[in-house]
Each structure stands twice: as structure tokens, then as C-alpha cells.
Symmetry: C2
Amino acid sequence: MGRITQYVAGMVLLVFSFGAAMADALPSWNEGQAKQAVQDFVARVTDPHGKDFMPADERIAVFDNDGTLWVEQPMYTQLAFALDRLKEMAPQHPEWAANPMLKAAMDGDLKTLTADDYKGLMELVMVTHAGMTPEAFQKAVTDWLATAKHPRFGKAYTQLVYQPMLELMDYLRENGFKTYIVSGGGIEFMRPWTGRIYGVPPAQVVGSSIKTTFTMVDGAPTLIRQPQINFIDDGAGKPVGINAHIGQRPIAAFGNSDGDMQMLQWVTGGEGPSFGLIVHHTDAEREYAYDRHSSFGRLDKALDAAPAEGWVVVDMKKDWKLIFPSEK
Amino acid sequence: MGRITQYVAGMVLLVFSFGAAMADALPSWNEGQAKQAVQDFVARVTDPHGKDFMPADERIAVFDNDGTLWVEQPMYTQLAFALDRLKEMAPQHPEWAANPMLKAAMDGDLKTLTADDYKGLMELVMVTHAGMTPEAFQKAVTDWLATAKHPRFGKAYTQLVYQPMLELMDYLRENGFKTYIVSGGGIEFMRPWTGRIYGVPPAQVVGSSIKTTFTMVDGAPTLIRQPQINFIDDGAGKPVGINAHIGQRPIAAFGNSDGDMQMLQWVTGGEGPSFGLIVHHTDAEREYAYDRHSSFGRLDKALDAAPAEGWVVVDMKKDWKLIFPSEK
């Protein structure tokens, strides 16, 4: 390579690097306190000369799923899946008609289903999620997601993810973070698609689970999902789930409801630098507006606690330029 | 760069790459069937043009710990830890003297402790492993490992890891594999040191666990380890633990006892290419010789099953040039 060629190549490289450094990694976020807080935190923990520097293996970020990464209204997507599945399976189970909870489910009576600490919902999950291998269950989830449409937006549920949060996850990963999902939803309901949609592989998904057992069936090693709760990854269960799966205290947590409060407390209650953020659904026009009185994703105590705890509250309407990837 | 310089640089690069490809990644393994089988498997699944090619995100390898990666005789290391801890804590607990199991433990009566499906051992674990935060427990483990010595070899337990297996883990990782530990031992007993010793981070350790709860203690978010079994990651529990933590079927499994049999079955029972290996302890002089009649790490059914299942059996005496890193 001649001198001039070398020089030109050098300049191209320089301009390219400079351009990359200056490009906005969060284009769907309006300029404001929330965006600035995220960027400041990432800058602090990645500056090797700063006092808040954290080595890459400490850069763990946890994200709630329902209402934080995708839509959770008018009901949790997994509940929509369970209801569809119940109707599909019902003809083979005439005995379900005599079960008041399953009858409520078939009638779409969410009030009965969610009463008494979600007792009916659990029963619904057991009959629709158990008695099969994880592979068969994952296929059922994948098949359903391929055709089911959201009642209001008329799109596939996996299209109803929040573009600003996708950018945030990418941005963190580009800065050496490992991103985990820590959701009250079913771990095996999420794993078939979180890689494709969020860039989060199965091993980085933490969620609620039912018991699973191993047996040999006709000489074939087989796992079977049992109709029995194993773990509820919600509320005080979230720090427990994080400890079990990750084994380290994350330094950043993203949630949207009271079910994320203990996770936020745990993550931001350590000694080093940390970051907590709550997505506040304030946009009835583009998505939904709800908080203290919602059956799904209630945000009440955590919203009150946010100022004193130093958690950033995202005002969806004000802070997000767009909501869904399709608006790009 | 001139023509000649370019040519020389090219040759240097070529020689370097060739050298790297030819270097033996498993120098502590004697040439033989076991070493060859490992190398053949890795070559098959990493050849992008071969019919057995597996993309990197499918290259998951699981390793048992006790007896597969480190010494498990004359007793599991975690049991030695529990016994030492019991003696250390005993002066504060005069009531333990009236407990037959804890008395057996203090007297070193392993026979009583391991009888009746390890009932005494469980009791010992509860009083020595629970009632504290995971951080406090991990500190106790770290402090103990820093000073405790193996009764026969007089070395720290973390030095009594198998050099050929360390090389194997490195070799797999260099070929795009993710390495996990899947052990009957306590998940939080292993996590403080597996990164440093094996290159396996906390999130890639699967093991047995006791229940943990989250509470606020004087305003501080706190996890507390409870004296109650949560999960036994042994035997049929291993495929269940793998499914819970990894969420994918691994393609390679390494074990040494009947407790690894279901893991081997699960991993090698899938449709694609897979690999199973059993470390057979045949070297009484350099390490230990045991199999069908050992209280710790009994290898009986899995040894019988190996030929039909196609699992490679490592004959430690014959296949390993050296056992411990200190022999290098």
C-alpha cells in the first residue's frame, strides 16, 4: 500500500469510527431525563478510568417481559394463549364443563379467573400447559404465536414489542452487558422466541415454571411437564429466581409493575453503581394508559417508591418517539 | 507494503495458523481411542460443510463436577467442608450433641451419615449451609477452600482438579462450545470458585439447592438460605436441572458415576450428533481406583450401559498422561 493510499484508508477508518461513536444508539427515545440517565449510567460503568467502572462480567441487566418489553393489555399474552388452547382442547375434555374455573375461562370471565390470588388462572395453566414434553409445549407456543393476533392492534404478539426497549437491550449488549429476562411469565412459554425477538438465548430467560420429571418412555429419555407449580418468578420471587439462575446481583433492572419491585430493590440495593427503571404506561392512544388499578401489570407501590429509590420512571407518551417496530 | 514484505508477512501468517492448528490442545491425554473420539466429535460438529455441523448456539457441553472435574475421594469435598464447619459451629450449639445424626457427623461416622438415602448428610447440610445470606455462605466456602487441605495429597482441593479435563473444557470452548457444570453438589458451594478454576461463570453452574427467600431486613433487600431442600440435581434430576437452567438439550455430556446416567441418556438421546463420556477411576497410585462399590461416585449401571449407548469410557490410568496440574 502506498503512502497516499494508507493515509486515505486511515482517514476512512477514523471517520467511520467517529461516526459510529456519535450515532444515536437509542433513536426511538426522545431527548430527556430518562434517556440521559441510561446513557450516563452506561458511560459511568464502562469508563475504565472512572470510579464506577464495572468489569464486563459484572454488567448484568435484567428485564421484566410483560409490559416492559411487550404489550400486556388487555391481558397477558400467555393468558390469551392458554384461553385459545383451552378452547382447542375442550372437545376432548367434556368433563371441563363441570369445573367452575375452566367454565369461567371458556366464557372469558377474567374476573373469576384472577380472583383469589389467580387461583382459576393456575388451574387453567395446569390443564393447558402440563402433561406433555417441553418440546411439544414449545411447538404449541410457536404455532400459536405464528397465527394469533392481538385483539386491538391486529398484529402478531411478537410484533407488539417496544422498539425503544429493543434499542436499549442492543445498546447495553454493545456495551458489554449480558441481558436476561426475569418474568412472572412461564419460562418455557418465552424461551422458544426470545432469541429471535429480543436476542436473549434460552439460558438467559428466568421465569415461572411447573414441575418437570424425567423418565424413559419406550427406551427414549423423556421430560414431562407436570400439573404442579414449581416456582413463581414474581414479586419476592424475582430476586430468588435471579439468584438461582444467574448467581450474581445484576447492576441494572427494568420493570413496569409492582411485581418488579423486589427485583428493583435487590438490584439497586447493592454497594456498587446500579440502575433501576420503570416503564410507566401513559399512552392510551398509541398503546395503553394504566397503573394503580389495572388487573394486569398493576403499578402502585413501586411508582410511589421510585423517587426515594432513585428509579427512573419512563413516561411512555413523553419519552418514546415511537412504540412498536412497525412505526419505524 | 512492498511485494516482498507482503509475501513474507503472508508466509508468517500461514505458518502461524498452521502451527496453531497442529498444536495439541489435549497434551495431557495419551493417544488412544478416548482422545481420538473427542477430537473426531469436535471436528464433525464444527465442520461447516459436514452433515453433522452444529451452529455455535447448539454447542453446549455439560460436566459433572465431583469425580469428573475434581477428586471426590475419600469423600465429597462439600462433605469435608460441612464437617469442618459443623465442628467450628458446634461450641455455639450444645443441643447438637443430642442429635444422633449430627453426633455421627462430629464423630466422622460416614456410614451412619450416608445410610437411609443420605438422611444424615441432609441434616448436616441444613445446619451448616442455611440461615445466612448467599454472600455470607459464599464467603465461608471461599475462606475454607483457601486453607483446607486434602487428607491424602496435602494440597488445596482446588488444586486437585483433573488437568486433562481442564484441557478438554478449554478445547471445547475454543471450538465455540459453552461449558456448563451440572453437579449433584450445591450450586452455591461451587459458584464462588468455578470461574477461577474451570473458567465457568456462576450462571453456567447447575447444582442442588436449598430454598432461598427474599425479605427486607432493616431496609436492606436480603436473601436468606432456608433449611429446606429446593432441588436435588442428581440422577433423574440432572436432565430436569439442565432443562430448567439451560433450556436446550446439550450435545456433549461428561460424567463419572451412576448419578450422571440420566444426564448421559438425555444428552445422547436426541436426534442430532452427540457425545457422552465417562471418567473411570482406575488409577489407585496417582489418584483412586473405584467403581461399583464406592459410597461416593458409584459407577455401576452406567458402566454396563456404556458400550450399547456408545459412551466413551476413559481409563484414567491408561488415557491420562498426568492427573493434576501440579504434575506439569
